[in-house]
C-alpha cells in the first residue's frame, strides 16, 4: 500500500502546556483514516497541526511526510504551498466558507485558474464538469444564499479540491447535520476514496466512522489510545474509553422506561398550522402534553420542529389553530433550552450573575440553585466564569439548571445535544430526563437523531403537512 501522508510525533502546545501528546499515524492512498474522540480531546488540534492551520497562540512540533517530502510542523508557513495542491481542506460550515458575493461556479473555477494555472475559459469548463460530477450543475450561477445546505456542501467540496488536492482533511464534516445531509457528506467523501484519493476525517460521530470504514484512531486527552481497522476496533474495542464511546451512541442506549398518561394535560394544541418562507411546515397538527411526559419530535432540518416548539411556548404565532395552556401556570413556567449553549448565555457577564438576576427577578430561593447544581454534577466554581470559559457540555447542563430554576411545567429542548460529543450527549440527556421526571415537568425534545428520540421519549410525534 502506498503511504501518502505519514505523520510522526505531531504534538500541539499552548505556550509550554502540551495539549496534544506526540502522535503518529499514516494515511494510505485510497484509504480513510478517522480520528475520533470527545470534544476537547485534541483531535481537531491534531488535524489543524498537520494542515498548518493552528489558531494563533498554539504551536506544533513533529514531522509530516507527504509523498516523500518532509515538512516541519513547527513551521506552519512551510505547509501553505500544499494547501489546495496536495491537501484539500474541507470547511466545517460550507455555507460560511463560500464567498456570499461570488457565484458558485467562479468559486470552484478559482482553484483551476489560480492554483492549476488554467486559462479562464478552461477553468470554467473544469468547474462546470466538477459540479456536474457532484450532481449540482444547477448551482453554477447561484450565490451561496440561494443554495441549499446540501448543494453548498458539494460546491465547497468541489472548490476545496479544484487545485488538484488528493488528500482531503475533513474536520467534523457532519456536525449538526440531519441524517439526509449526513449521508450526502459521507457519499461525497467515499466517492473521493473510490477515485483513489485519501481522506482524513475528524469526528465524534462513530456511525460516521463505521460508514467510512478504513482505519480509526481513538484520541483521549491528547493521546491516541487505540487504533486499527475501523471494523475491528468498533466491534471489539480493547480500551475502556472506546467501549464507553460506543455505548454512548444513541443507537446503543437502553430505552428509558415509558410513562403512562394518567395525569392532567398541561398543554393542548388543536389544528395548528404554520407556513415559513412560502413552505407549509405542518397543518392540522394536534397535540396533547401531560404532566411529566416526554415527547419527541424528529425530522430533517427545516421540517418545522423548532417552529412547533416555539408555537407551543407562544414565542411565535401559528397561522391557524388554538393552544390551551394549563390554567394558573405562569408564562415563565414554559421554558426553552437552546441548541447552541454559548449563544444562549450573555457573553460578557459571568454565568453566576446571569442566574442571580433570574433569582432576583422571580424572588426565588438561592438554595434551589445550589441543589440543582449538585444534582447536575456542576461545581459552584463555574458560576464565577463566563460562558466562553466553560465546556459545551457543562454549559448545556447550566442552561438546564437555569430553566429548571423556574420550576417549569413544560420545557422545550430544541436539539439540546446536537453540538455535544456522544458521551456528553448521553449524560446530558439522562440528566435532563431524570430531572424532568422528578419535577413532573413535561418535555418536548427535538433531535435529528431518530435513535435518540426513540430511546428517550414516551411518545414520538410526526409533524407533517396534512
Amino acid at each position: 500500500m502506498n503511504t501518502v501522508l505519514k505523520v510522526t510525533d505531531a504534538a500541539v502546545f499552548a505556550g509550554n502546556k502540551q495539549l496534544v501528546e506526540p502522535t503518529s499515524f499514516e494515511l494510505a492512498q485510497g484509504r480513510v483514516l478517522t480520528i475520533v474522540g470527545e470534544t476537547g480531546s485534541g483531535k481537531s488540534l491534531l488535524a489543524q497541526a498537520v494542515a498548518g492551520l493552528l489558531p494563533d497562540g498554539l504551536s506544533a512540533t513533529g514531522v509530516a511526510n507527504l509523498n516523500g517530502t518532509h515538512f516541519d510542523l513547527a513551521k506552519p508557513a512551510s505547509l501553505r504551498p500544499l494547501w489546495g495542491r496536495t491537501l484539500g481542506i474541507l470547511p466545517q460550515e460550507p455555507w460560511l466558507a463560500l464567498d456570499p458575493t461570488m457565484r458558485a461556479l467562479d468559486q470552484v473555477a478559482e482553484g483551476h485558474r489560480l492554483v492549476r494555472h488554467l486559462e479562464r475559459a478552461a477553468a470554467l469548463d473544469e468547474a462546470r464538469r466538477d459540479l456536474k460530477a457532484l450532481g449540482v450543475e444547477d448551482a453554477e450561477g447561484k450565490l451561496p444564499d440561494q443554495l441549499s445546505g446540501g448543494m453548498a456542501q458539494r460546491v465547497a467540496f468541489a472548490a476545496a479540491r479544484a487545485g488538484g488536492a488528493r488528500i482531503v482533511i475533513a474536520d467534523e464534516p457532519t456536525k449538526g447535520l440531519d441524517v439526509a445531509r449526513r449521508d450526502d457528506v459521507i457519499a461525497l467523501l467515499m466517492k473521493e476514496v473510490e477515485a483513489g484519493g485519501s481522506v482524513l476525517v475528524i469526528t465524534h460521530d462513530l456511525a460516521l466512522a463505521r460508514q467510512m470504514g478504513g482505519e480509526i484512531a481513538v484520541v483521549l486527552q491528547g493521546q491516541v489510545i487505540e487504533k486499527g481497522e475501523t471494523e475491528a476496533v468498533l466491534s471489539n474495542p480493547s480500551h475502556d474509553y472506546t467501549k464507553r464511546l460506543i455505548a454512548a451512541d444513541p443507537a446503543n442506549w437502553t430505552a428509558m422506561a415509558r410513562q403512562g398518561l394518567q395525569s392532567e394535560p398541561i398543554l393542548v394544541a388543536d389544528a395548528l398550522s404554520k407556513t415559513r418562507g412560502g413552505k407549509l411546515l405542518f397543518s392540522g397538527q394536534n397535540l396533547k402534553i401531560h404532566r411529566g411526559e416526554i415527547i419527541g419530535v424528529s425530522g430533517p432540518s427545516g421540517s418545522g420542529k423548532s417552529s412547533l416548539g416555539d408555537i407551543l411556548l407562544g414565542l411565535i404565532k401559528p397561522d391557524d389553530g388554538v393552544i390551551a395552556r394549563l390554567p394558573g401556570a405562569a408564562r415563565h413556567r414554559f421554558q426553552k433550552i437552546y441548541q447552541d449553549p454559548p449563544s444562549s448565555f450573555p457573553a460578557r457577564i459571568t454565568i453566576g450573575q446571569n442566574l442571580d438576576d433570574l433569582i432576583r427577578l422571580h424572588g426565588l430561593d438561592r438554595r434551589i440553585l445550589s441543589a440543582l447544581l449538585k444534582r447536575l454534577r456542576l461545581s459552584e466554581d463555574l458560576l464565577q466564569r463566563r460562558p466562553s470559559d466553560v465546556s459545551g457540555g457543562e454549559l448545556q447542563r447550566l442552561s438546564i439548571a437555569r430553566a429548571m430554576l423556574l420550576e417549569p411545567v413544560f420545557l422545550f429542548a430544541d436539539e439540546p445535544t446536537s453540538r455535544l460529543d456522544p458521551i456528553t450527549q448521553q449524560e446530558t440527556v439522562d440528566l435532563l430526563v431524570e430531572l424532568a421526571r422528578e419535577r413532573d415537568c413535561a418535555i418536548l425534545l427535538t433531535s435529528h437523531d431518530k435513535a435518540l428520540i426513540d430511546k428517550t421519549c414516551d411518545k414520538v410525534i410526526d409533524i407533517a403537512a396534512a
Binding site: A51, L53, R80, W83, G84, R85, L87, I89, P91, Q92, E93, L96, A97, L98, D99, P100, T101, M102, R103, E110, G111, L114, V115, L143, D145, A156, A159, A160, A162, G163, A165
Partner: protein, 311 residues
C-alpha cells in the same frame, strides 16, 4: 434597481418639501429686522436708514402674512422658481448653479482624495489589527476628526502654503487652488473612512470564506482580490453616503476659509445678508444633491454586490 431609484425619487420630493418648509420657518425666525438687514446688504451699513428699510419691505412685500408668504414660496418651488437674490438682483437659480459647479468640483476632488488616503490605509491596518499601522492610524484619525475643520484647514495652509510654498492659499482661477481646500475636506473624510475600511477588512479577513480562499491554495493577494476587495468595498461605499452630510457641512467651513466661490460660501453670505431666496435656493439644492449622491451610492453598491443585483 428601478424600484430603488423610484424610492429615491419619492425621497427627493419629501426632502424638497421638508427643506422648503424648514428654511422658510428658520429664515422667518432669524433675529433682527429682515428689511433693515437686506437694505444694509444692498446699500451698506453706513447709509442705511428706516426709510430705505421701509422701501425694501414694500418692494419685497416682507410684511405679508406668514401663511400667504409660505404658500407663495411653495408654489414657486413646485415650478422651480427660486426668485431673484435680494442683494445682487440676479436670479437665484443662475447664482446657485454657478456656485454649485464650483462646489461639485471641490467635493469630487475631496472624495477622490479621501478614497485614495482612507480605505487603502484602513485595509492595510485591518489586515494586521493591533499592528503598528493600526495603532498609529487610530491615533491620527481620532485627532483629525476631533479637530474642527477650520483648524485643520489653517494647519494645512501654514504647512503647505506659508512654509513650503507649494500651493496658493486662496483663490479659484487655476487647478492648484483646488488642492488645499480639497485636502482639508479629504483628511476629515479619510479620518473616518479608514476606520470603516479597517473594521470591514478585519471582519472579512476573519470569515470562514477568507480562510477557505487560503486553504483552496490561493495566495494572500489572490484571496484579497477575489474575496476581500468586493466584500470590503460595499460597506466603504455605503458609508460614503453617510459621509456626504459631513461633506456638506465641511463645504460651508472650508469654502469660507479658502474663499472658494461655492455654494457653502454663498449660503453663509446669504444668511448674513438675510438674502432669503438665496438661503432657500441654496439649501434646497444641497438637500436634493444629498439625495442624488445617495442614489449614486445605491447604484454603485448595486454594481458591486451581486446579491443586490438580484433583488
Amino acid at each position: 434597481m428601478i424600484r430603488l431609484l423610484f424610492g429615491r425619487l419619492v425621497q427627493a420630493a419629501l426632502v424638497a418639501l421638508m427643506v422648503g418648509l424648514l428654511t422658510f420657518v428658520m429664515t422667518r425666525f432669524l433675529p433682527g429686522d429682515l428689511a433693515y438687514r437686506i437694505a444694509a446688504g444692498r446699500y451698506g451699513y453706513d447709509i442705511v436708514d428706516s426709510a430705505a428699510a421701509a422701501k425694501v419691505a414694500a418692494e419685497l412685500s416682507i410684511n405679508q402674512p406668514a401663511l400667504v408668504a409660505l404658500g407663495q414660496w411653495m408654489f414657486d418651488l413646485v415650478r422651480f422658481e427660486f426668485g431673484t437674490s435680494l442683494i445682487s438682483g440676479q436670479p437665484v437659480w443662475e447664482e446657485v448653479s454657478t456656485q454649485l459647479g464650483h462646489t461639485l468640483k471641490l467635493a469630487a476632488v475631496a472624495i477622490l482624495l479621501s478614497l485614495l488616503i482612507g480605505p487603502p490605509l484602513g485595509i492595510l491596518a485591518g489586515l494586521r489589527p493591533g499592528g503598528l499601522l493600526d495603532r498609529s492610524l487610530i491615533l491620527i484619525s481620532t485627532g483629525m476628526r476631533a479637530l474642527p475643520q477650520f483648524v485643520v484647514g489653517l494647519g494645512i495652509i501654514i504647512i503647505f502654503s506659508l512654509t513650503l510654498g507649494l500651493f496658493p492659499v486662496a483663490g479659484h482661477d487655476h487647478p492648484g487652488h483646488l488642492v488645499l481646500p480639497a485636502l482639508t475636506l479629504a483628511l476629515g473624510l479619510a479620518a473616518v473612512s479608514n476606520r470603516v475600511a479597517r473594521d470591514a477588512m478585519r471582519s472579512v479577513s476573519e470569515t470562514a470564506f477568507y480562510t477557505f480562499g487560503r486553504t483552496k491554495g490561493l495566495s494572500e493577494w489572490e484571496v484579497f482580490r477575489g474575496h476581500g476587495l468586493r466584500n470590503v468595498a460595499v460597506p466603504i461605499i455605503t458609508y460614503l453616503g453617510v459621509q456626504f452630510v459631513y461633506l456638506i457641512e465641511g463645504v460651508v467651513v472650508v469654502e469660507t476659509l479658502f474663499a472658494w466661490p461655492g455654494i457653502g460660501h454663498a449660503l453663509v453670505h446669504a444668511i448674513f445678508g438675510r438674502d432669503v431666496p438665496m438661503i432657500q435656493g441654496a439649501a434646497f439644492i444641497m438637500g436634493l444633491l444629498f439625495v442624488a449622491l445617495n442614489a449614486l451610492v445605491d447604484a454603485l453598491c448595486h454594481l458591486i454586490d451581486p446579491r443586490e443585483r438580484r433583488t
